[in-house]
Amino acid sequence: MKIDLDFVFLIGGEAGQGIQSTGQILSATIAKNGFHVFADQDFESRIRGGHNFFRIRTSDKPVQAISEKLDCIIALNAETITLHKTELKTNGLLIHDSKSAPKISEEINSFAVPFEKLAVEEAGNRIMRNTVALGAVIAVVQLDLSTLESVLKTSFGSKGENVVKNNLSAAHAGYKYAKENYEKNFVKPFNSKQTEPKMLLSGVEAVALGALASDCKFMSGYPMTPSSGILHYFAGKSGDMNVVFEHAEDEIAALNMAIGASYAGVRAMTATSGGGFSLMVEALSLAGMTETPVVIVLGQRPGPATGLPTRTEQGELNFALHAGHGMFPRAVFAPSNAEESFYLTAKAFNLADEYQIPVIILTDQYLSDSYETTEEFVLSKVKIKRGEIVSQEELEKVGKYEYLRHKITSSGVSPRVFPGTPNAVVVTDSDEHTEEGHITESADVRNKMVEKRLNKLEGLRKEISPPKTFGLEDASTVLVSWGSTFGTLKEAVELLNSQGKNVRMIHFSEIWPFPAKAFIKQVKDFKELIVVESNPTGQMADVITGETGLKVGKKVLRFDGRPLTPRYIIDKISVEA
């Protein structure tokens, strides 16, 4: 597959140097020119020092994977050069501060710009060295300075006129310096302006936006990487969108609050990571027993315990499928990318309401923190389905205070009423309960209630979309992925097939109830099943075998906390082939 434009930037430096904002501004500037962007972040669990980087892959076609090979390094400190120079392609660009004069080979096209000096002289503060760097980069790759200016205005607008003015001066200084000193060495990877600008957002923003679009009115949470961004975005919008975010005292409270709000009639969610989800497990079971709809985002990071707090893994699939004491139905989704994070969040709310169950959305640090360009989300595609709710007339027929919250039905779903409705009381219990909702020890009622709750699985199963397929239709080698691995494996499959291999992929975004029949049909005459997952044992492989009886031949696994890349997958497959 030929990609006309495939240009990768890496911005590196210490925590506290503004790596993330520099990355976001450069991504936005490129996206504003109509190009596609996919950017991942690698950072340490510290506020100052250490080494962080933000990698931006740009293309004139949609791109959803990272590439280890770099075209341009923007080094905000000397360490970045030492750590990443071997990743730079031949004749790659290195833009660095003049004060860090690295020893580099002649094959590197190097641009020394006095970032810090210019920041002090032109913008009055060394902190703006990253904006000087941005000005220089824009000059070197010959993008429009005016686009950068407009992104800077949007990004810093809320911080006041002075901050905007100083950032603009810093950018101009970097741009001017590069132009005056290095114009003959400039490159032009970006051809003319592409299509209309697209959305540029991160996985966490897409989930939170999906929640708002689904009319989720209440979110409670306790900060935990990598899901804090969901809480931040929702909280930031609470005034404007008339919703409530509550910073709970702990994750136990967070899920219990969401359950309370949902019982009272508003759509509610919470977001956390593995450790926080561990604390939520008891309340997850409560949602199952009381049949209270709730959406929980479980942003995965490497465990056990605190693990690698700022890095990525897909290690909580088994946990999400099995968490909670007792047996109750649930749905588990794992969005592939930002777009799916938006639409699957909306679907999660619908299934939660229609089946009165907890729905878990499995993301991970890689998806959460990656920024990507995507087509504008279409609000009309988000249909809000609140499930069966008893109308006032129906309630009158039932009789005063005769409403049964847990009425036995063939679907297992008991139509809801919200507290505060005249002539009805809504009773539910974490103990086994009668149809009315009151505590009981009756063996007969127990049997009926267990069956009722589990009967919901039958309808729920039909709601699950079949896995996505991609690649050569009759290929006998089938690669299987789930969640955020989609774009990476898709590119690996394209590359393998372009090299004359014969492979296809099947990808799960809607994992539970497991679409076993659809999967069996899709794999049909396969010779070899290979799972590709970011965890040490291949949890999806076990789910597939458990649910279908099919044996998985190979596992391509990664568990060092770093994201899978197309190259990593291809290398592993080739070595083992």
């Binding site: 936005a28 996206a31 600008p197 697209k198 959305m199 540029l200 957002l201 923003e205 936006l209 708002l212 679009a213 009319d215 009115k217 209440f218 409670s220 609470s238 005034g239 404007d240 969108m241 008339n242 919703v243 409530v244 509550e246 709970a248 005292e249 702990d250 136990i252 409270a253 219990n256 609050m257 969401a258 359950i259 309370g260 709000a261 949902s262 019982y263 009272a264 009639g265 508003v266 509610a268 008891e282 409560l286 504008e376 609000l379 205070y401 919200f418 507290p419 505060g420 409705t421 005249p422 002539n423 009805a424 009381v425 809504v426 009773v427 539910t428 219990d429 974490s430 009151h438 505590i439």
Partner: protein, 286 residues
């Protein structure tokens, strides 16, 4: 007009002579006195003998997990602050398992009335030490006698700036009824700690034990429950004399009056704005 009969519901599963019966009676009477209909009231309870109380009432009920009544009640109140929300549980539930939630419910000052049946022992699990059990008491989990200092909910609540802190006694039903009414009417979080004998497992803190010690704070004409220092001093009284009544009261806007989204009406009644949502999505266009 509602009557006690409107709140009648089902048979109880408590031990004969249990203080819970008296608390149930006071709760019903308070709801009747306030002319609340069962559909307007939401009880959230935890697990324990006290957590069963709302099952014996006709009202909306969420009987959740041990220690977790306050976060659920908080969610209910945020979703629909027109509802009268009460949380109920025992001393183990509220002061042990749910202690952290109590601290933060007080800080939020959300308009919930929290009734804690404080019998200084675990009843449902059959007689283990609770956070409020007296030093020296031997129980199944403290065979050599309790060595931990008992938890003082009244002092803690005052120190955190709670806006309504009261202590009742189950055997003084009309007095307790008044406290519950005042707690419901109070704008903000109201903690009502209710002393209650456990006739099956607590042989120390019996009716006789309490009867000898309790007195009504309003009989102390010098005491001003709106003075935090006096209230704190009063909260430390325990032993020969145990004060009953409103120990501390102050004014602070409740949670639901401070949030933008809730100022214009309950969350549940808010219609989503398609136009605002479209504009919000557009904010991500590069």
């Amino acid at each position: 007009m509602v009557s006690l009969k409107d709140f009648e519901n089902g048979e109880t599963a408590w031990c004969p002579g249990c203080g819970n019966f008296q608390i149930l009676q006071a709760v019903k009477q308070a709801l009747v006195n306030l002319n609340l209909e069962p559909y307007q009231v939401v009880f959230v309870s935890g697990i324990g003998q006290a957590g069963k109380l709302p099952h014996y009432l006709k009202c909306n009920l969420f009987n959740g997990l041990h220690g977790r009544s306050l976060p659920v009640a908080t969610g209910v109140k945020i979703a629909n602050h027109e509802l009268t929300v009460l949380a109920v549980g025992g001393d183990g539930d509220g002061y042990g398992e749910g202690g952290n939630h109590l601290i933060h419910a007080i800080r939020r000052n959300i308009n919930i009335t929290y009734i804690v049946h404080n019998n200084q022992i675990y009843g449902l699990t059959k007689g283990q030490a609770s956070p409020t059990s007296e030093i020296g008491l031997t129980t199944k989990t403290t065979p050599q006698g309790i060595i931990l200092k008992p938890f003082n909910p009244i002092a803690m609540a005052i120190s955190l700036g709670a806006t309504f802190v009261a202590r009742g006694y189950s055997a003084k039903i009309p007095h307790l009824t008044g406290l519950i009414e005042a707690g419901i009417k109070h704008e903000g979080f109201a903690l009502i700690d209710v002393l209650q004998p456990c006739v099956s497992f607590n042989r120390l803190n019996t009716y006789q034990w309490y009867n000898k010690r309790v007195y009504d704070v309003t009989t102390d004409s010098d005491f001003n429950p709106e003075n935090v220092s006096e209230a704190f001093a009063k909260s430390l009284e325990w032993g020969d004399r145990i004060p009953l009544g409103i120990i501390y009261r102050s004014k602070r806007s409740p949670y639901e009056q401070k949030l933008t989204a809730l100022k214009t009406g309950p969350l549940i009644k808010k219609e989503p704005s398609i136009e605002k949502m479209k504009r919000t999505i557009k904010e991500f266009i590069a």
